[in-house]
């Protein structure tokens, strides 16, 4: 049994050395093979490797990891198709390393390799974000890498703590060193408070890159939450994240920032589901992960097409695209309905499962409110982006291959919405939820209807308008602190040799005396 992610990693090497059509073909081929491979992966363990004095398990497949792996591989294929015509060598290589390492991450069976691929994801996504055509990414990617390495270091630290207590590096629910794992996972899945890296970065990269990015990093965090932190009750944290994320999102006018905050919000749903720890909750959380990748990816693809076609990505400047980009608009509607949890779309399915898993009414109400916000902000997104009357010039039409990528995703979204059993069969799990009972349908339609009412009433407030965007963020101050200390130290070292000699002799005297004492 070979870990399917390794195919991507190996493929990346070949992509580096090929050119033109061959490379495009190869990229798609790798993704297709990867997807088939993941799909056919039997449950079990394999590929054990002795490394240093550790026993690594490079493949360990469970139903849930297979579920995650399938959506990773599927979306990877769609994203590669979508980007096929614009991408340069750097994108091909790095995105394959990125996708490959996240798929490998999902299937490894020990903490060491987990950490290994966790960091590989960070490295590859850093280079993916860093784009010289966008000078702003110099700063944002720096921020991204530092944040994620803090997480990585924290994970490493937690792994060691756990290892020293239990003596094993098996990838199971963690009991020791929890705070470190929580920090690591929290940063990876952009929990509110440490989410700052996400909107900064996803809104500033080229559009096809944000499509790839939107799917993997945070979802790997969610998967880590599921695998490692089963013992922690995080239901409330998730709900808070969901609500706060949505509130932030509502304020945004820049389309991709809006979507980015929605990632945070939707992750809140998953945290809530996984965090309560009930079977249904966990299943719902993982289903939501699956669905979220699809519709959020589709939304990023849609806004990508808009940026590609018009060169604008801010809702203030957009409007009236529904006639010029009909297919894109259709996809946008599908994805928006899905994320809002409208019946017969996939978001509905997983939200329902999560909701059935929650017993605490506070959580249920919290998610209800978040649902209203979500619906509201996507009405804003679709209306002001596509349906309001305005002439926006369209320079280029999306290519067929972009449409193919979007169409695949949209198709799966609808398929799952209509036949939720697909998800259950992949996950090999009977949730026992009656998806299409009238009570559920009504309950899920409520937030959307409420949102529609609010949208109508508060149209002027919601309408995107210029306002100052302040990133409230305390983390740079840590950097300033270190920088200040360094500045002082470097002033002390003023290049005067006799001062250096004085240091030498003083050190000698101090060490000597302290030894004698």
């Amino acid at each position: 049994m070979v870990n399917p992610g390794l195919i991507y990693l190996l493929g990346a090497v070949f992509l580096y050395f090929t050119k033109g059509k061959l490379r495009q073909f190869l990229a798609v081929a790798i993704s297709v093979v990867g997807l088939l491979w993941v799909y056919n992966l039997p449950v079990g363990e394999g590929m054990k490797v002795a490394f240093l004095d550790l026993d690594l398990i490079l493949v360990s497949v469970t139903d849930m990891s297979r579920l995650t792996g399938i959506v990773f591989a599927f979306f990877g294929l769609c994203a590669v198709l979508y980007a096929l015509l614009f991408a340069e060598r750097k994108f091909y290589v790095l995105s394959h390393i990125y996708i490959g390492s996240s798929i490998t991450l999902v299937f490894v069976g020990d903490l060491f390799s987990f950490y290994f691929f966790w960091e590989l994801m960070t490295i590859s996504s850093y280079f993916l974000i860093f784009d010289r055509t966008k000078p702003i990414t110099e700063q944002t990617s720096y921020y991204y890498f530092i944040m994620h390495l803090v997480g990585g270091v924290s994970l490493l630290w937690g792994i060691l703590l756990n290892y020293s207590v239990t003596g094993s590096i098996a990838l199971t629910t963690i009991e020791h060193g929890l705070p470190f794992f929580i920090v690591a996972v929290g940063i990876k899945l952009a929990f509110i408070g440490v989410h700052t890296w996400l909107p900064k970065n996803y809104s500033n990269v080229p559009f096809y890159t944000s499509v790839v990015l939107s799917a993997f990093t945070t979802k790997a965090g969610v998967y880590a939450l599921y695998r490692l932190l089963g013992a922690v009750s995080l239901g409330y944290a998730g709900t808070i994240s969901a609500i706060v994320g949505v509130i932030f999102a509502l304020k945004q006018t820049e389309a991709r920032r809006l979507l980015s905050y929605h990632i945070i919000s939707q992750i809140g749903y998953m945290i809530a589901g996984i965090g309560v720890g009930t079977t249904l909750g966990v299943a719902g959380g993982m289903f939501h992960l699956f669905n979220h990748i699809l519709y959020k990816g589709l939304l990023f693809m849609v806004i990508g097409v808009v940026i590609y076609a018009t060169g604008k990505g801010d809702l203030i400047d957009l409007g009236g695209l529904s006639k010029k980009l009909p297919f894109t608009t259709f996809c946008g509607v599908v994805a928006s309905l899905a994320i809002a949890g409208a019946p017969f779309f996939n978001g509905y399915v997983s939200k329902l499962v999560i909701k059935s898993g929650l017993e605490d009414p506070v959580l249920q109400w919290g998610l209800y409110i978040a649902g209203i916000g979500t619906a509201l902000s996507f009405m804003k997104f679709m209306y002001f982006g596509f349906f309001r009357e305005r002439e926006v010039e369209v320079e280029r039409k999306p290519t067929m291959i972009m449409k193919l990528g979007m169409g695949l995703v949209a198709g799966v979204i609808i398929l799952i919405g209509l036949v939720p059993g697909v998800l259950e069969s992949i996950a090999n799990l009977e949730t026992g939820v009656d998806y299409f009972s009238l009570a559920y349908l009504w309950e899920s339609s409520q937030p959307i209807l409420i949102a529609a009412v609010i949208f109508k009433l508060a149209h002027d407030i919601i309408e995107p308008h210029e306002h100052d965007e302040v990133d409230r963020d305390i983390y740079p101050f840590v950097g300033y602190g270190v920088n200040y200390v360094g500045g002082v130290l470097s002033k002390v070292q003023n290049g005067d040799v006799s001062r250096y000699i004085l240091w030498l002799l003083t050190t000698l005297a101090v060490v000597w005396v302290s030894f004698l004492a």
Binding site: E138, L149, V153, W157, G486, L504, T507
Partner: protein
């Protein structure tokens, strides 16, 4: 066989003969250089292979009952020898194109330097160690000054003053050791050292610590290093950071384990001093604009990690530390050679000068970035493995605070190395004209950076060499018996 001594004598002979060869034909000089370096590498590999089976002792002048000087090649020496061989070979090939100033003298001094480092790593005699230590120092001062720029002279002078002081303390420690033990051979010194009065032993330790510490840059004694690196040719920086500093560190480690043993007291000093060293060095490195200074501080920081690991005094600590010595040699050499190429091709010396080079010199930059990621300690590169081992070792020994700071140090180093990576791949302010780069510059850089990757994925390659080191360090009687021929 006589190969062990050839490791030292061959570069010496080459250095001596280059002057004569030059009078016959100038072209011959480079040929002789390459041939000699190749033969040297081959000899080193054969000796290291042999030493991995069983340690080698070579008595110079056949004085086998400790009357003369002996060379001892145990695992630790073998590792150092291998590092010296690989790096010096790469650097010599690199220099063929890179060096266009005082070529003849450059090679002469380089070979003397290599011989000196080799001698330091192999010798089994305290005073002989000092002699080679001084050869290394003097050739280093000279190589720093060889570019004859203002910065080179200033750097060389600072280096020389600090180096002379450190040499004085080492010499003082050695003569005191002779007085209290009546011997110079490591074996007898170690055997008799316990009888010495406490005060003298402490003094000797302090002198060795400060003397060698100045050379391998403990933090308040480090100040010369960045200044030195500014004006020196990049090829020397690679050697210096890779093997010269490491040779002093090696000598210190060997002496500490033989004479004092890694007691808890000494261990704690080394551990916490190591932590301070890397924290301060990392913070200072963040301030730098000059690439070489940045890398210089980074070298100091790596010494901190190694000291920490060695100070733990456990088997895993020593393995981790030795492995980091080896890895840091590879990584730092790659980085400095890369910087050398950047300055050769476009005259870059500051971080800002690197802007856009990632696209005009993609492969070199790629190799450079690999080494950067490795030295930050990210997987899948070798720096990650050795830092992981150090962390694990520190954890096992319950030096929690020290262990905590290791990843913090990694974070700090990320902060400044990222600046370099960022500059490499950002848009240049103006068009860059790149000089064509000869393969002699490129190949060593590629090979070393590939080694960084390979050592990270298959650490077993060099760990096999290293796993015996604790046997000779922790239990000094093994080493003593080796020298006594028992």
């Amino acid at each position: 066989m006589d190969t062990p001594v050839l490791l030292v004598v061959l570069p010496l002979l080459t250095a001596f003969s280059l002057g004569i060869i030059k009078t016959f034909s100038k072209k011959l000089v480079k040929a002789v250089t390459v041939i000699s370096a190749t033969v040297h590498l081959a000899l080193i590999i054969s000796v290291v292979r042999e030493a991995m089976q069983s340690p080698i002792v070579y008595h110079l002048g056949d004085w086998d009952n400790l009357l003369g000087i002996s060379l001892v090649i145990d695992s630790f020496s073998a590792m150092m020898a291998l590092l010296v061989g690989v790096l010096s070979y790469g650097v010599i090939i690199y220099s063929l194109v890179y060096v266009d100033f005082h070529e003849l003298k450059y090679y002469v001094l380089s070979f003397l330097l290599i011989a000196g480092v080799m001698g330091m790593s192999l010798t089994g005699d305290l005073f002989n160690l000092y002699v080679f230590f001084e050869i290394v120092s003097i050739t280093s001062y000279a190589l720093v000054a060889i570019k004859e720029e203002e910065a080179s002279f200033e750097g060389a002078f600072k280096y020389l003053v600090m180096g002379m002081l450190s040499g004085t303390f080492v010499l003082l420690a050695i003569i005191l050791t002779y007085q209290v033990t009546g011997a110079l051979n490591f074996a007898q010194v170690a055997a008799n050292f316990g009888d010495a009065p406490m005060l003298v032993r402490q003094t000797i330790f302090v002198f060795f610590l400060i003397g060698f510490g100045t050379k391998f840059c403990l933090v308040p004694l480090h100040a010369w290093l960045p200044d030195v690196y500014c004006g020196a040719p990049a090829s020397f920086n690679a050697l210096s950071s890779g093997i010269v500093i490491k040779a002093s560190l090696y000598a210190f480690i060997r002496i500490v384990f033989l004479l004092f043993g890694m007691t808890a007291g000494i261990g704690q000093i080394l551990i916490y001093w190591g932590v301070i060293t890397f924290l301060v060095a990392h913070t200072l490195a963040y301030q730098q604009e000059s690439l070489k200074r940045l890398l210089g501080y980074s070298s100091i920081a790596q010494i901190g990690y190694i000291l920490l690991a060695i100070g733990l005094g456990t088997e895993s600590g020593i393995i981790a530390g030795s492995y980091h010595i080896f890895n840091d040699g590879l990584m730092k050499a790659t980085l400095f050679l890369g910087v050398g190429i950047f300055s050769y091709a476009v005259g870059a010396s500051k971080i800002d000068d690197l802007r856009g080079l990632g696209f005009s010199m993609p492969k070199i930059s790629f190799a450079f970035v690999i080494a950067t990621l490795a030295i930050i300690g990210l997987p899948p590169f070798n720096g990650f493995i050795s830092k992981w081992l150090i962390l694990q070792a520190a954890w096992e020994t319950e030096y929690i605070v020290a262990a905590f700071f290791i990843p913090v140090g990694s974070l700090l180093s990320l902060a400044y190395y990222l600046k370099v990576i960022k500059a490499l791949y950002s848009r240049p302010e103006r068009e860059i004209e790149v000089k064509p780069i000869d393969w002699k510059l490129r190949v060593p850089t590629y090979v070393l950076s590939a080694a960084c990757l390979v050592m990270g994925i298959i650490p077993g390659l060099s760990l096999a060499l290293i796993e015996n080191i604790p046997k000779f360090l922790l239990d000094s009687s093994n080493y003593i018996n080796l020298l006594l021929g028992r």
